[in-house]
Each structure stands twice: as C-alpha cells, then as structure tokens.
C-alpha cells in the first residue's frame, strides 16, 4: 500500500470521528434516535479506519490481525447502524424497510462469525471464504439504500421547495447524502478486486489504493458538505435556487 494511502485513511478516520461528536452531542440534547444512530455510524467508521491503519505505524505490526478484526467489526457495525438510520428516517412505517435493515445486519453478523469460525479473522479471502460475500452483501446494501433514498428525497424536496414547503439547503443535503451512498458503495466495490489481489499475490495494488482513496475522499467531502456546510457553500446553494426558473404550477 502506498504511504499516501495510509495517510489518507488515517485522516479519514480522524474526520469521521470528529464528525460523530457533534451528532452525539445533539443526540444527548434532543434524545432523538436519528442523530444518535448517525453519530454512531460516523464514530464506528472513524474507529474502523484507525484500527485498520494503526498496525502500519512503527512497532505495531504484531497487532495486525487483532486490530484488523476490530476494524472489520467496526465497519460491519457502522453499516448495520447506517441501515437502521435509513429505515428510521425514510421508511419507518414500511415492513420492507424493517426487513432490509434487520436483513443487512443479520448478513453482516453471520458473515463475520462464520468467517472467524473458518479462521479468516481479517476478511481478506473472498475466493477461499464464501462467507466473505454474506458480509459484503450486508454492507453494500445499506450504502445503495442510502443513495436511492437520498436521490428520491432530493427530487421531492426540490418540488416542495418551489412551493415554499422545503428548505433548499435541506433538499441539497438529500442529494449529497445520495452521493455519499454511492461513494460508500464504491468503496465496497473496490474492495473485491483489492482483496482478491491480496489473496492471490499478498499485496494491494496502487490502482486499488487510489480508487479506494478517491471513494473515501468523496465520502468525507459529502459528509462535510451535508452536515457541516461552510457558509460559502450554503450561499451558493441558496443563490442557485433563487436563480432557477420559478414554476408557479409545474403541472
């Protein structure tokens, strides 16, 4: 793995952890579950990156397997929490939403437990270990679900904004959340050739590192713009909405 990739992943871990704190503080103040769940999603993602990268620090190589396992568990827990967040926010009244959230979590738990039972603690053997795919499916499903719900909500919120029933910033936040889902799904897709190459040749290729870093950078950029938008970006969104042609009745 390239040195720049290690650094990018460490910074990603620090970013997610920092992003979790205001949400968890908000949850402590409001007592509401969505902010608590999203805070845990970011905290667990942050911890997973830190667990995965710590063994590459000088003198930490002996901790590779236990820390990689902790990183794997943290990633799985984060994606399960993401599924429950999506269900709670977008599909709280549907049975299929409940099934998808619990189903994703079950696949992740089953995949990790069965892998460990076969001696695959780090989850780096997709060719030899079929249970890798259960875990993988359980983790990519919430990411794809996030993107579908984000884009769907963006479309309807944009319509509502024309009638003064939605905040343009929030409508844009849904779009960004959809892109975050795509970026997360992207990391899961890159993981397949990356892990297969590692299983076959014992190394991670530069292109896979670069692709992974690109998806991670896109993910954290979207989290930043969605939940901590700088004033300049907010002004740009609001001006874009004002500049768009107004339709009194788009029917």
């Amino acid at each position: 793995m390239e040195d720049s990739a290690y650094l990018a992943q460490l910074l990603t871990g620090v970013f997610y952890t920092a992003a979790a704190l205001p949400l968890l503080r908000l949850a402590a103040r409001t007592g509401q579950h969505p902010e608590r769940l999203l805070g845990w999603v970011f905290l667990l993602l942050g911890l997973s990156y830190l667990f995965y990268q710590t063994p590459f620090l000088p003198g930490m190589a002996s901790l590779m397997t236990p820390l990689s396992f902790l990183g794997r568990v943290a990633t799985g827990a984060a994606m399960a929490a993401l599924a429950f967040f999506t269900r709670l926010v977008f599909r709280s009244q549907t049975r299929w939403g409940r099934t998808l959230a619990y189903g994703s979590a079950a696949l992740i738990v089953l995949g990790i437990c069965a892998s460990v039972a076969r001696g695959d603690w780090e989850g780096l053997t997709p060719l030899a270990n079929p249970f890798f795919w259960l875990e993988w499916a359980g983790e990519i499903a919430p990411a794809l679900w996030v993107s579908v719900e984000g884009f769907r909500q963006h479309r309807s919120a944009t319509k509502r904004a024309r009638f003064g029933l939605a905040d343009p910033i929030v409508a844009n936040r849904f779009f960004i959340w959809g892109v975050f889902g795509i970026a997360q799904a992207g990391t899961m897709l890159v993981l397949i050739p990356m892990n297969i190459e590692y299983e076959l040749h014992g190394t991670f290729s530069t292109w896979a590192d670069s692709a992974m870093s690109a998806c991670e950078t896109l993910s954290i950029a979207m989290v930043w713009l969605a939940f901590f938008p700088p004033a300049m970006y907010r002004r740009w969104v609001e001006q874009s909405v004002r500049a768009a042609p107004q339709e009194a009745n788009p029917s």
Partner: protein, 103 residues
Amino acid sequence: MSHALFDFAAERLEQHSSLDRLEARGTLRIALKIVGLDLATLSGEQLAVVFEQVLPGELEKRGVEGAASICRTVLKEVASAPEAAAADRIEDAEKIFRRLGRD
C-alpha cells in the same frame, strides 16, 4: 397517521364537488405528487398549500365549477380536523435532516 388526513380531505372534496370518490382521491393524489408530497408524512400545512396553489387548477382542468371556493371550504374543514393536528406531529425525513445539519 397522515393517510387519515388524506382520507378526510378526499372525502370532503368529494362531498363539496361533483367528483365521485375515485376521482376526488385521484385528483388529490395528483396534486400531492405535483408538490412532491408523501402521503405517509403529509401535514396540515402541506395540505393547505396543495388546496391553495395546486388543487384549484387541477379541479378546473376536470371541469369542476367553483374550484377555488370548494378548495377554501374543504381547507377550512381540514384545518379544524383532529387528523390535521395528529399529522403535524409526524417527524418526516426533512425535519430530521434539517436538525442534523449545522445551521
């Protein structure tokens, strides 16, 4: 449940217009779609916008006479209905996402 609010509004629309049950519900559904509203999280405030800005035009398109007056009447009845108060307490995705972002 906001389905209750929708049912109530559609029933009043049917009662005050020449539309039958299916037509009233269908026209109201179309109006909600134009505004980008979800039945499951429909609030009284949102329904008011529909009845003020969109539904009169949709009713006129369907040959309903006195569309604006009908909408005002239905809206008054909807505003005082317990279904509207209950619907306003539902927390939708937009309220949650507004709270999650730093303002």
